[in-house]
Subunit: 388 residues, 2 copies
């Protein structure tokens, strides 16, 4: 097992009817900025309920944070935080709204060109770069990214998606009420399952380091997502299925399963380019890339793919190659059973676009991906060819 640090101070308030507790955790005298997305939180009445709970606090709303939140949009909110002396931000939304809010809070007191904050990648922004932030809480409306209980964000700028990490960006609290998510469109629920699934595989299907509990936890998340995936899509008001979806998605990226083990993230990095170039949903890009990546990386990842085959898919018979084949096929079939297509060509992107994607990976410095940093551009090309 590798050495590791683990730190996660976010308070989770999970379950039915937790919204009222906003009043307990938002300072009484705060001026509050509510951030949200495309308007469904407004139309559903959720924002109204939140405002009611905030009572006499001064409240300003900032809507319109788009999926894959854009730097320019977020900087408009930063202006409001500065001009209105916002003391607390409440993000009401899914991963994009929460990620965007993290960037808003980090940029608000930064004394420079905030694009600087996009340059750190997976390295946490040093404390002295951003000394002070606006504390924020979240009301989660979409179980997927885990952003509600971590300190990372992804921000879009020009043709890139940039990871932003800072210990100052943990939500103070997150309200996870599965009932709030009952009205989500099917495709978003399905994308959320795939996102949580691939967050888990990124931290699990690498190489063995005898991180036994971490492996068991990852396998537990994958098994749970497989068990409840179809139900939570077809029966959105099945509370237990959705509750398991919500909590699995949070645990898949709150740091706990990644402690002391290698991490890959190549599927995400390649997927980000597909979103940035072609507007394919994040979850869909992961469903496209992961099966192809496992095919191409079957030798490097052999031990863990076999473990995944046996423990997650209960594949007992066949030789090692057959087990690996079947595990990859079952992964692909699982995504497809959720209604998510797994071939890039099915999204209208043909092989002729591969050089463009490779060019973007190169432009973003993503020339040595994966847990062993040996997914060069050539290997990424092979993965994209398999993904067609």
């Amino acid at each position: 097992m590798f050495n590791f640090d683990f730190y996660n101070p976010t308070r989770i308030l999970f379950g039915k009817d937790r919204l009222e507790e906003i009043d307990k955790y938002v300072p009484v005298a705060a001026t509050v900025l509510i951030t949200y997305g495309g308007g469904s939180a407004k139309r559903s009445g959720l924002i109204g309920k939140v405002r009611e709970i905030l009572g006499s606090r001064k409240v300003i709303e900032f809507g319109g944070i788009e999926p894959n939140p854009r730097y320019e949009t977020l900087m408009k909110a930063v202006e409001i935080v500065r001009s209105e002396n916002i003391d607390f931000i409440l993000a009401v939304g899914g991963g994009s709204v929460i990620d965007g809010t993290k960037f808003i809070t980090l940029a608000s007191f930064y004394n420079g060109d905030a694009r600087d904050l996009l340059k750190y990648g997976f390295m946490p922004i040093p404390f002295d770069v951003v000394g002070k932030v606006v504390p924020f809480g979240t009301v989660l409306t979409l179980p997927a990214t885990g952003s509600e209980m971590n300190s990372g964000a992804v921000v879009s700028y020009e043709h890139g998606k940039f990871p932003v990490m800072s210990e100052l960006a943990f939500p103070v609290f997150s309200i996870l009420d599965p009932v709030i998510t009952f009205t989500l469109p099917e495709i978003q629920v399905a994308n959320g399952i795939v996102d949580a699934f691939v967050h888990t595989t990124e931290q699990y299907i690498t190489y063995p380091v005898d991180g036994r509990v971490q492996d068991r936890m990852a396998e537990g998340l994958l098994q749970t997502l497989i068990e409840i995936g179809e139900t939570t899509i077809s029966a959105p008001e099945n509370y237990n299925a959705r509750a398991n979806h919500v909590w699995s998605a949070t645990l898949a990226l709150n740091g706990i399963i990644g402690t002391g083990v290698p991490q890959d993230w190549a599927t995400h990095m390649i997927g980000h380019e597909l979103t940035a170039l072609f507007g394919i949903d994040h979850g869909q890009t992961l469903a496209i890339v992961l099966p192809a990546l496992l095919e191409v990386r079957r030798e490097q990842k052999r031990d863990k793919i076999l473990q995944y085959a046996e423990r997650v898919w209960h594949i007992e018979s066949g030789n090692d190659n057959e087990k690996v084949d079947l595990a990859i096929r079952k992964t692909r079939e699982f995504f497809e059973s959720l209604g998510i297509k797994t071939h890039l060509s099915q999204y209208g992107v043909g092989a002729e676009k591969i050089p463009v994607i490779i060019e973007q990976l190169k432009a973003h410095g993503l020339t040595a991906l994966s847990e062993t940093q040996d997914i060069t551009l050539d290997v990424s090309q092979k993965i994209l060819e398999k993904a067609m």
Copy 2:
């Protein structure tokens, strides 16, 4: 799944050679109280190393915190905190030293008879009762109780062991270096395995509420402890086995596996009386009570014992009763394989003492234990009879 809150701000620094980081997380100008136990941390040179890392900070030592730390001992440390204006406490030890330090920090600014703080049981002490505490960190020397990453303690007073819970009692940081634990006596390592195992079963072998990830995580912890138990005792310098033991023990009681599921704790409550009355090690008391409790509660816990039988012990054949029998037998055999006896009579306590134990349970108000609060004194008596 039940509603739940999860909050755990302790920073974990896990792995080899982490001790130096004390310097980073203890305030530079702090006056530091180092708390420790019977002297092995002193004799091994660990306290000396810690003092060296603390450099020019003013340091006062308080040794002699006993296993099952006693109120009177801890209040002596409280006097020092007050008279010497201690700013930070560093607990160097196992669960008893860390539990004791939690009580010291809670009592230091309490304006009343500190025995009041023993009266809250499993209910967190309200914030306004203890407004301020001395922050503290830990250097863990014994993987067992999980105290290094939670906000609970158990304090002994007169003939009772009293749980104390407060969000103010989370360690700021905990250093978990498996190498520091290599020199532990075998019996303490074995007790530590049993303690982590039973912390897990208390939160798992109850009744099903469709907490799928929680169940999988609990099963992962139990399987890991079973896999590495004998190795980490017989080969104490096997780093990976010990690392898995250390991290499993922490995760078994940091709150994560107990989110949204019923919890029992009857084995602990009955075990506490055995320690208080007869001085039997905490881990040993759990190994005595758990198999007996599972026998007596086999009907109430049937669904989860069967799940435990199938998923943890891979018991596939036989009817349900046979599976339950075998799971209980394997549990007992596992404890015995670690060198821990599982019958009360083997510790020199005969059936004639049962009325005394029942009297103590009654005196401490423990008349309705378990996840369904239906372990009355009569049921406890049956459990103790089975435990002979």
